[in-house]
Every structure is written in structure tokens, then in C-alpha cells.
């Protein structure tokens, strides 16, 4: 089985596990970030069997999906029944996904990963508070820095704990670019499509121009560090090749301005 086939299997299993007969009638299917799932899988696959790596990767991913689901919560007063029900299920399905990660890992007797994820969730939430409720007015670079920390909170923790601190700069840069591209694409659309470009709209002028420039700079920087000739292990080369491929796809859209 190729790596891509292994990932596809894990992806489909995760889709099934996230499936809830009632929730899916009200909310859109949760988005599974295939790149994150692949990275989690590769991180665990280094030391674990295919089956175990799949279970661990799904567990961390489901915790992340729980947090992302809660990000979608609306803050303004709603009165129509559908909007209320959507909000209620946004809370509860997020709780369900968060519960699933512990449930799955407890059945694998892997409390170490449970602990890492629990710690990463706390860090993630602290960054979220820093982003949305900062006591001081954040500059643009500070804003981007916090977004990067939010996007990488779980994956960075896992990489460090599993002894792969060397790949953290690549992961930070890649997942930041991915988020910036999503925000650029969805800028001006509904709250469910973006979490931060709406928020910074009032803080900065010309948000789309800033995003375009930021994406270009970050893509150039990541391309540069991914192409550096260094003495990498075979495993790390696999990760770098994967990120390079994915980045070139993203960059293509950026170049064409199609996002």
C-alpha cells in the first residue's frame, strides 16, 4: 500500500467516525485537513505500526476538528430557529469531537498522547484569547505570529514530543500559509468560512492586499528553506517532499490569483 493509499484509508475511517446521523442534517460535514492528517500520520508512523499510527493520527485530528468546530460559534443574538439550532449543535458537536479523541486513545492505553493533546489544547486556547481579546492593539506582524501559533499548536506539540523538533519551522510556515490562503479566499464571506479575517477587518486597512503580500512572502520563504540542501534523514526527506509538493500546488493558485 502506498503512503497516499494509507492516508486515504485513515481519512475515510475518520470521516465515518465523525459522522453523526442527526448533526449531519443540520451542520455541514466537518472539514478534515488532509495535510494535517498526513503530517500526524507520518509523525506517528515513524515509530508505530500502520494501524496504530492511523488511530493516533485520527485521534489528534479529531481533537483539532473539535476546536475548529467551536471556532465557528456565532457571537451575535439570533432569533430564528434554524440559526439557534446550528449554534447549539456547533457547541455540542465540537464537544463530541473533543470527547472522541480521549475515548479513542484511552482504548489504545496511550495516555501520553492524551496528555500532549490536552496541553496543546490549552496552549491553543491561550493563543486564541491573545488573538481575539488582546489587551493591546496587535501590530500586523504580531497578528500573523499569533495566527501561526494557533494553526500549529497541536502539530508543533506532537512533533516536539515525538522528537522531531527540526521540522517545526516547516510545519509552522506551511500551516500558516494554508490558513492565510483560506482567509484570503473567504474574506468577506460568512463567519463559518473564516475565523480571523473578519476580526482584523476593523484593525487594519487593506486587509486583502496585506494578505496577498504576506502569502507571497511566506511562500517564498518556505520554498527557500525547503530547498536548502541539508543532511536530512530519509524520513525527514519524505516530510519535506510532501510539504514541497503541497506548497507548489498552493503557490500555483497564489500566482494565478485564483486561490
Amino acid at each position: 500500500m502506498s503512503l497516499n493509499e494509507e492516508l486515504e484509508l485513515v481519512y475515510q475511517q475518520l470521516r465515518n467516525e465523525l459522522n453523526h446521523d442527526y448533526v449531519k442534517t443540520i451542520l455541514p460535514e466537518p472539514v478534515i485537513d488532509r495535510d494535517k492528517l498526513m503530517i500526524y500520520y507520518l509523525l506517528f508512523r515513524r515509530q508505530e505500526s500502520r494501524a496504530n499510527a492511523g488511530v493516533y493520527a485520527k485521534s489528534v485530528m479529531v481533537a483539532e476538528i473539535g476546536l475548529n468546530t467551536h471556532e465557528m460559534i456565532t457571537v451575535e443574538k439570533r432569533s430564528d430557529m434554524n440559526a439557534i439550532k446550528m449554534r447549539q449543535l456547533t457547541v455540542l458537536s465540537g464537544d463530541f469531537y473533543s470527547a472522541l479523541y480521549y475515548y479513542t486513545l484511552a482504548r489504545q492505553s496511550n495516555m501520553e498522547v492524551v496528555k500532549w493533546v490536552a496541553q496543546a489544547i490549552q496552549t491553543f486556547n491561550l493563543h486564541k484569547f491573545a488573538f481575539f481579546y488582546s489587551e493591546t492593539r496587535l501590530s500586523w506582524p504580531e497578528t500573523i505570529e499569533i495566527v501561526m501559533k494557533i494553526e500549529s499548536a497541536l502539530v508543533e506539540k506532537l512533533a516536539r514530543q515525538l522528537g522531531f523538533a527540526r521540522i517545526v519551522p516547516y510545519l509552522n510556515a506551511y500551516f500558516l500559509i494554508k490558513r492565510l490562503v483560506i482567509e484570503r479566499k473567504n474574506h468577506g464571506k460568512s463567519e463559518r468560512d473564516s475565523y480571523f479575517s473578519q476580526t482584523i477587518q476593523g484593525r487594519f486597512e487593506k486587509v486583502t492586499d496585506r494578505l496577498d503580500q504576506e502569502i507571497k512572502n511566506k511562500v517564498a520563504h518556505l520554498t527557500h528553506i525547503l530547498n536548502r540542501q541539508e543532511n536530512h534523514s530519509e524520513w525527514l526527506i519524505q516530510v519535506i517532499d510532501y510539504l514541497r509538493d503541497q506548497l507548489s500546488r498552493l503557490a500555483e493558485g497564489v500566482e494565478e490569483g485564483t486561490y
Binding site: E71, F96, Y102, V114
Partner: protein, 322 residues
């Protein structure tokens, strides 16, 4: 006043729990810190940690894992309350503004997630697979129960089994876990743990039924909101279930429930009618039946001080009015 005695007996340990809760809830972010500590200061009966402490007396109650379990359970409970207030759009809890009312829904989500993660981190060191299997199953089922509750809103045709499954997941499982964890964390056998799990389960079922009854018979002052709030929100609880299916009130209830703009007086009169039709007595009977089952389990356990205290808690549940 026996419950007061039990609280007095456990006072020093409950105080330790409060102080550990405070440490666990401290956060290096001002809003998160304030929101979490407000939750702690709002108090509550701390019935779950109390059950854990009492059940630990069947083993070695001085073990560190007992205290950690009690704190974890209360943290899970607090996290779920913060999120529940967003689900129910509640602005007040125990007479104080909720996190979502004081800040906004987003703060409530982040705070609940943070507290939940703290709770899980706290117990991740436990070297006992049985404990983790049990806790994680209950936490998962709690969220499924909450989803069920939304799904069943306004579904007046639901049967008794659906209601029982819902309150099991919503309330009884966490009480069952509180008792079982006390036993397992103090080194009791799985058998004792399971007996106490069922004690907590029956107690929790009765506790929720009593809550559902109080929602109809309590005063606005006692409840902190108008009586009949569950029904007004489309939540079919035990008294409404009996009124619908046993006392021929289907048409009267549906005319209000399905009205898009019911008047306040319509609500008041239907709630009054449910209160007076006999549904409350039936609900009390069922609640008492669960309490009897809980007490039967206690008869099979070693007859010690903790057993008496647990029986007194069961008696309190049957007569409580807040």
C-alpha cells in the same frame, strides 16, 4: 440536616478540592482567568466530588488519585456548564451572569475547552486503563446526550425510553462515574466500583427527574427563572410526558407547543394544568423507584459510615427542593 453533617465531615477535603480547583483554573490570560474563577466562586453543591470522597472510603481515601479524580469531575462539570449556557442562551446561572453573558459565546467556548483540557491533563497520569475507559466513555456519552436533547426538542411523540436514555447521558452517567471513580481511585476492586457506579447511576436518574419536577413546581425565586422553562424551550421532560400520555392533555399541550407565538398566559395555564393533573405525583413515584434501587445496592455493600452517608444523600435527593 443530615446532608449538612456529611458536608461538615468532608469539610477539610472539600476545602482542599476548592483550593485545587482554584489552582487548576488559574490561567495566564486575564479574561480566561476571570471567567474560570468566576465559575468557581459561583459555587454549587459539589455533589460529584462529595460522592467521590464518600465512595473512596470503601478503599484508601488518602490516595492522591482520589483527590485528583474529584477535582477532574468538577472541572468536567464546570466546562459543560459554560457550554450549556451557550446552548440554552442563558444569561444567569445561580443568580450571576454566565460567561457568555458577561463576555460572549466565543469566550465561553474557549473557556470551556480550556477547562476540559485541564481536566483531562490532570488525570492523564493515572496508570489504570479501567479508569480511563470509564471516564472517556462517560464524557463521550455526555456530549451525545446533549445532542439527543436538541434532537428531541418539540418531539412530543417520544417514548419513555428516549427520555430515560437522555437523562442517563445528561446527568446520571457523571454521577455514576463520580461514585465509581471514588472506588477505583482508592484501590477498591472492580466489583465494588461497579456496584457504586450503579448506585450513582440510579441516584443520578432520580436527581434529574427531581430537577424536571422542580422545574414545574418550583417558584421563580427558587428556580431563578419562570417555572416550566423546560417545556417553554420545547424540552419534553417527565411531568409533560405523563401529562401527554396518561392524562389526556395532548391537545392542550400541543396547542401551545406548536403555536408560533404563544401568549404568556397560555404557557402559565398549561404549566399549571400539568402541575395539577397528577403528572407530578407519577414523576415522583418513578423518581422514588430509582432511589429505592440505589438504596438496594447500598444494602449489598459493607455497612460503614460511608454507606450511611450515601443513603442520606439518596434521601436528600428524594426530598430536595433546590
Amino acid at each position: 440536616m443530615t446532608l449538612t453533617r456529611i458536608y461538615m465531615e468532608q469539610k477539610s477535603k472539600l476545602k482542599q478540592i476548592e483550593s485545587r480547583l482554584e489552582s487548576a483554573l488559574k490561567a495566564p490570560q486575564p479574561i480566561l482567568n476571570e471567567a474560570s474563577l468566576d465559575l468557581l466562586r459561583a459555587g454549587g453543591k459539589r455533589i460529584r466530588p462529595l460522592l467521590t470522597l464518600l465512595c473512596a472510603q470503601y478503599g484508601d481515601p488518602s490516595r492522591e488519585t482520589v483527590m485528583k479524580s474529584a477535582v477532574m469531575l468538577e472541572l468536567i462539570h464546570m466546562a459543560s456548564l459554560v457550554h450549556d449556557d451557550v446552548v440554552d442562551d442563558s444569561n444567569l446561572r445561580r443568580g450571576k451572569p454566565t460567561v457568555k453573558a458577561q463576555w460572549d459565546n466565543r469566550v465561553a467556548m474557549f473557556t470551556g475547552d480550556f477547562i476540559f483540557a485541564r481536566a483531562i491533563e490532570l488525570i492523564s497520569d493515572f496508570d489504570n486503563d479501567e479508569i480511563h475507559m470509564s471516564i472517556s466513555r462517560v464524557i463521550r456519552d455526555l456530549s451525545l446526550g446533549e445532542i439527543d436533547q436538541i434532537k428531541e426538542l418539540y418531539h412530543w411523540k417520544q417514548n419513555m425510553r428516549v427520555y430515560l436514555r437522555r437523562i442517563k447521558r445528561k446527568t446520571a452517567l457523571l454521577m455514576a462515574l463520580s461514585c465509581q471513580l471514588g472506588a477505583l481511585a482508592s484501590g477498591c476492586s472492580s466489583r465494588v466500583g461497579l456496584s457504586l457506579y450503579y448506585f450513582g447511576y440510579y441516584l443520578g436518574m432520580s436527581y434529574q427527574m427531581t430537577d424536571d419536577i422542580l422545574d414545574f413546581v418550583g417558584t421563580e425565586k427558587q428556580l431563578g427563572k419562570p417555572a416550566g422553562g423546560d417545556l417553554r424551550n420545547g424540552n419534553i421532560t417527565l411531568p409533560t410526558f405523563f401529562a401527554l400520555h396518561k392524562y389526556g392533555m395532548r391537545n392542550a399541550i400541543l396547542s401551545v407547543l406548536e403555536d408560533k407565538n404563544p401568549k404568556q398566559s397560555d404557557w402559565d395555564s398549561i404549566i399549571c394544568a400539568i402541575r395539577d393533573c397528577g403528572a407530578i405525583q407519577d414523576s415522583e413515584q418513578l423518581s422514588d423507584a430509582y432511589l429505592s434501587k440505589a438504596k438496594t445496592i447500598l444494602e449489598r455493600l459493607p455497612q460503614q459510615r460511608a454507606t450511611r452517608s450515601l443513603k442520606e444523600i439518596a434521601d436528600y435527593i428524594g426530598t430536595r427542593n433546590d
